[in-house]
């Protein structure tokens, strides 16, 4: 049966591994203030990934287009190494084929302040968090408040921000009255977390943020559980395999290169 691995017995469970079913489930959560574009990120991600690897985007309980519970996008692919140029198999698990099925489930939380309990429930067992901030200057306070909310919710669950793979996305770059690029870069340089600029509505920066988070999360899981061995991959092959399986045409290195600040260090090795 599925088991949740944990680094220490006190800490909440992390990545879900099911060796019998030969699958790994990675849970990523998109957090952020109300109307910062978390659901829009998921919609864009849904559009940017291939039919074969993505499941239906599930939107649970919305009112006036505002998320009440969560949105969920399942991305499922088969990790099998080494990377082969031909003879790709479908992701369908089968005893005959090697490798493991990787399930990346991306969730959004409801941003509105009153849904704190729901946010905590969705955050449970997250392996990585993307914080979607609204770039508009008027939202500065809301971004900060939501981030503190994230911190306190993690704390409530016995986790600390430091332990959690985390990327920050400054969304809505296409709007006027946003924090200027130079300032975002300055902030990113000083901060600990990798920062991505995005315009989720236009699909810009969405893959960059997603792969940035997947990279951090994978690095963390690899360090703790040596997942690459279970998947039959080299550690630095995971991201390129994931990108290819998800039908991403762009090069992972170039996606990660758009990261501001030093949060992604050390960067993954280039894979030919």
């Amino acid at each position: 049966m599925a088991q949740r691995l944990r680094a220490n017995p006190e800490a909440p469970p992390l990545v879900q591994l099911n060796f019998a079913g030969r699958e790994v489930t990675i849970k990523l959560v998109y957090y952020g203030p109300a109307l910062s574009g978390k659901t829009t990120n998921l919609r864009s991600l849904h559009q940017l990934t291939s039919d074969e690897s993505r499941g239906r985007l599930m939107t649970l309980e919305t009112r006036d287009d505002r998320t009440l519970f969560f949105d969920m996008l399942p991305l499922v692919f088969r990790a099998e190494g080494p990377v082969q140029k031909s003879g790709e198999r479908s992701y369908t698990p089968s005893e005959a084929s090697g490798g493991m099925s990787v399930r990346v489930k991306v969730f959004t939380v409801p941003g509105q302040v009153l849904h704190s309990a729901t946010r905590r429930l969705v955050l449970q067992g997250a392996d990585g968090v993307a914080f979607i901030a609204d770039s508009q200057l008027s939202e500065t306070e809301n971004n900060a408040a939501s981030f503190l909310d994230l911190r306190s919710n993690l704390k409530e669950m016995g986790m600390s921000l430091r332990e959690m793979p985390l990327v920050i996305q400054f969304n809505k770059r296409d709007l006027p009255n946003v924090r200027p690029d130079a300032e975002v870069e300055q902030l990113a340089k000083r901060g600990r977390e990798p920062v991505f600029k995005a315009s989720a509505l236009k699909g810009e920066g969405v893959l960059e943020s997603f792969f940035g988070l997947l990279h951090l999360t994978w690095t963390r899981l690899e360090a703790e559980h040596q997942l690459s061995r279970s998947l039959g991959l080299e550690a630095d092959e995971f991201l390129p395999v994931a990108a290819r399986k998800l039908g991403i045409k762009r090069d992972v290195q170039s996606l990660l290169a758009s990261c501001l600040g030093n949060g992604l260090n050390p960067p993954p090795r280039e894979v030919k």
Binding site: A2, Q16, N18, G21, E23, T25, K27, G55, R56, M58, L60, E61, F69, F70, M72, P74, V76, R89, S90, Y91, T92, P93, S94, E95, A96, S97, S101, R103, K105, F107, H115, S116, A117, T118, R120, L121, V122, Q124, G125, E156, M157
Partner: protein, 467 residues
Amino acid sequence: MQDARPPMPSLDLEGARVRLEELVDRVALGELCQSFYALFGIAVRIYSSDGALLADTSSEHDVCAYVNSIAAGRAACGATVSSVKLTEPDETGMSVHPCFTGNAYRIVAIEYEGRRIGRVILGPFLPVEVQEVPSSFLDLDPSIDPERAKSLLVRVPRAKPETISRIAKHLRSALDLILFSGHKTLLTSQMHLASVRESYRELEERGKKLQEAFDKLKELDRLKSNFLATVSHELRTPLTSIIGYSEMLSEGIAGPMSAEQTEFVNTIHEKGNQLLGLIQSLLDLSKLESGTMSVRRETLRVEDVLGEVMKTLIPAARKKNVQLKLDSNGTLPEIRGDAERLRQVFTNLGDNALKFTRDGGTVTLRARATGRSGDDDEDGFALLAPARSMIEVAVMDTGIGIPVAEREKVFDAFYQVDSSSTREFGGTGLGLSIVKRLVEAHDGTIRIDDNQPRGAVFVVTLPTARE
């Protein structure tokens, strides 16, 4: 310290436990299979991942009935059906299993989010390429009539592999929609439940924290009142000696004093008394705040209280050459209250009025019965006001008056409209705050109006005794 907080409700949002039999309604699934059967004539069976039959169109083709009427046929049919049931669809999600009769079954995996959670068995159907009854059927038993076998076999719906694939795909997508909706509904209801539980847990925790904070504040408040009472008491003891000895000195008990000495000693005596008054007020205030001051409830007449207040005030009024008037119109209804405390209220207000009224001015104590009370805005005023009868006591002076903006603040402890007035008129700033609390302890209200042409009016409204 480890606090025993109830744990957060745990949820399986990752779908690790999605089971076909939990997501679909068996009856409705059966109906769906029936409608497929009605449309295509091909039997549909749906199994869960652990092999339980969830839906079945349960119909028997004539050729199957014929086979089953023969012992060897029955055995062969049973073997085929078991083998079909055990067949795992290949990586494409579909497999074909032949039947000895020439028919075939299609086994289709039901997948959800990349996991196999069950399978569909379509068939039997007759592949288009089968034209003759195969020997595997005819050789089964010598009693089999080839002509009959053929006539029955061709009644089985004939289908091309592509057609079966299309039907399978259609059934799969219908199932997928059902599974997605079912999963969504499952998650929604789980979230509803978990959110309610989590919110409740949060509220409970906050309630506990608030209660703790409240208890702590109550304790602090009690300590503060205790402290105030103790300190006031401890201050009064030496003060009594100071007042007593200065009084004895000024009376010449310890021998004659010069005029200057007498003046000094009188000042000590007077200031000692003032300090005693202040300490007494502090003590009253702390008692009122801690709720330990008892307000007795006896039936009394306000006029009697005001009469006594007049007696107390007359010497001071004479000294200041201020005219003191009592205006009580007819017989007023009785009220229930503490005569001693009410005397304190009106003496204080009278003192205050005298203090701010200059030579030649007037201070009037006026008592009236009035029906009107409360706020006009009050719900059901038209019904409640008439049922209430009140007594209004106004203490009017012709002094400097109180600006509108200051009228609420003067009731705060230690507040003075103008700090310079303390020097001119004296006083501690405690009197009015005590007055207000005493009035409120009588379920009354106090407000300040203008006096015409000048001065202030303190209006105390007290409820009359209820029958």
